[in-house]
Amino acid sequence: MDDNGSESQSPRASKLLDLEEAISTLVPAISESLWVGGMHMHNVPMALVRECIRQGKRFETFYAGPSSSMAAELLIGTGSVDRVIVGYIGFEHIGLAPVFRRTVENGASKIEFVEADSGSMTIALQAGAWGQPFAALPDGIADTDLPAASPAFYKRLDNPFSGDAAFVVEAIRPSIALVHCQQADEYGNGIFKGSVFTDRLLALAARTMIMQVEGVVDNNQILKYPLQTGIPALNVSAVIPINFGCHPTSSHRYYNYDDVHLRLYIEAASTEAGFADYVKRFVSGPEDQEEYMRRVQNQDWSSIQEGQP
């Protein structure tokens, strides 16, 4: 504003940060809400999730959608979230989510779970990206038990065009979004080498977006193929290069989900002690991602298995 056009020598700022610094500076101790990218056991920015837990960050609302797996398990099991909007939490063909199950089935958790669905949550995220205050839902939800189960999430009004009843959901603008791209440049132009999932939309809806990547590419690469840019830099706050950062979930084209680790996790986490051991070994224990991956590769689950009944 006050600069009268003198040529500046300052170059464009890199957004490359290390994991610890990014989470400690960009994520407040208590955040309003969190949405984690990827779906099922794919492209989930697990290194970012683990670091949030390691640093004791808390999130008032966690959107477990459209399809959450390991991120939801760790956030719920460590008590890092106060309220969970449930679209889907599970491990597809591998199994149900043991911590989520136990927490709800015990009936004594302080965490509030809101019964929702993946379609409505994604429509609400779309509304958030577009600045819409709320979003109307297609027909059909009225025939399910969802509106009665979650009257604060699904609200009914009259369609002013047809006079028919319609359900609406409030727009979602996550205060923190964690996302994984296979590659990005230092400014935050992210590339998906496989599925885009909900993450491109998330980048337009979130208030603060933190991105982990497997590899950093030169900005010239981005300029050469702009149609392959999955997430534009303009809303990205930090880019964090981490190898195998999605483990135990997949990073499309880089590595598949770790089926063995996930099955052993589900077994171990079937008891509270087993889950606590898992957290100590794989979340709070390792001082960094290298140490985490060493522990993963050693596959020494004996102490955790002792935790079983």
Binding site: G87, H252, V260
Partner: protein, 277 residues
């Protein structure tokens, strides 16, 4: 740790790691998985737009089988991955897998939902923790809401099945715990309780490891055929409500033909259909 699961690095330039599943074979014998996939395939029509959700090994195989046999113009939207008309080479268990992207297009997940929720899909596949006589389906919880006996994953995308032309339910087990008189939570709405098949639509077909079922004009689940080696009594005794029976002899679900088995082997490289049930 178990030695059953072995990472397998596939050939090629991409650093993809697949897993060899325990018990997987070359799929030469006909298993329940093959019968189910073929039964679903026979219910898909040429030109259908088919959308599958999570955990969709069987529906994906069925849709691909249909494409390669009687329905070359069928379109498959492979759930969360966004892959459209994936070659499924190889068939994999996760709908969100990178393997599903040897495909004609990659949609974002919002776009997959637009197809499903916006009325562009002819067929939607869904499963649940509980399915009842009217075809209601439950992915949320078994038991009371404050302290359920079993917490399910959540309703995911199945509430929107009614926006699609037809719904096919499938299950990898057939028990009285799954097939109940009335679901504890309606994630996907069945046929309306009184009106029968007038008014809003419920699911059209249910495929399990024991049988294929459809719905009567009144909207009650009815046995259509039993799989080879399964008796009507097996099905009835494993169903927690009074299953309607067709008049006369209950037919046997057609076995996959040799031609179908050949086609399946082309994409089910790990023989997953032989072990899925």
């Amino acid at each position: 740790m178990s030695d059953d699961y072995k990472p397998v690095l596939r050939a090629g330039s991409d650093p993809l790691v697949f897993f060899k599943y325990p018990g997987a074979d070359d799929g030469s014998g006909i298993s329940k998985g093959h019968i189910m996939a073929a039964a679903m395939s026979h219910n898909l029509r040429d030109g259908d737009v088919v959308v599958v959700g999570a955990n969709s090994l069987l529906p994906m195989a069925a849709a691909r089988l249909a494409q390669l046999t009687h329905a070359p113009n069928l379109s498959l939207v492979a759930g969360a991955s966004g892959g459209v008309n994936s070659l499924l080479e190889p068939l994999v268990p996760s709908s969100a897998d990178y393997s599903n992207l040897v495909a004609e297009a990659v949609l974002t997940f919002p776009e997959v939902l637009m197809i499903q929720m916006g009325g562009k899909a002819d067929v939607f596949f869904a499963g649940g923790l509980q399915i009842d006589r009217r075809g209601n389906c439950n992915l949320a919880r078994v038991g009371k809401s404050d302290r359920p006996v079993m917490r399910g994953p959540g309703s995911a995308g199945i509430p929107w099945a009614s926006q699609c032309g037809r719904t096919i339910l499938y299950a990898t087990s057939h028990t009285t715990r799954l097939f109940v008189e009335q679901v504890d939570f309606v994630s996907l709405a069945g046929w309306p309780s009184a009106a029968g098949k007038s008014g809003r639509r419920g699911p059209d077909l249910v495929v399990t490891p024991l049988a294929v079922m459809d719905f009567t004009d009144d909207g009650n689940m009815q046995l259509q055929s039993v799989h080879s080696g399964v008796t009507v009594e097996d099905v009835v005794s494993n169903t927690g409500f009074e299953l309607a029976l067709p008049e006369g002899t209950v037919p046997t679900t057609p076995q996959p033909t040799d031609a179908e088995m050949r086609v399946i082997r082309e994409f089910d490289l790990d023989g997953l259909l032989a072990i899925v049930i």
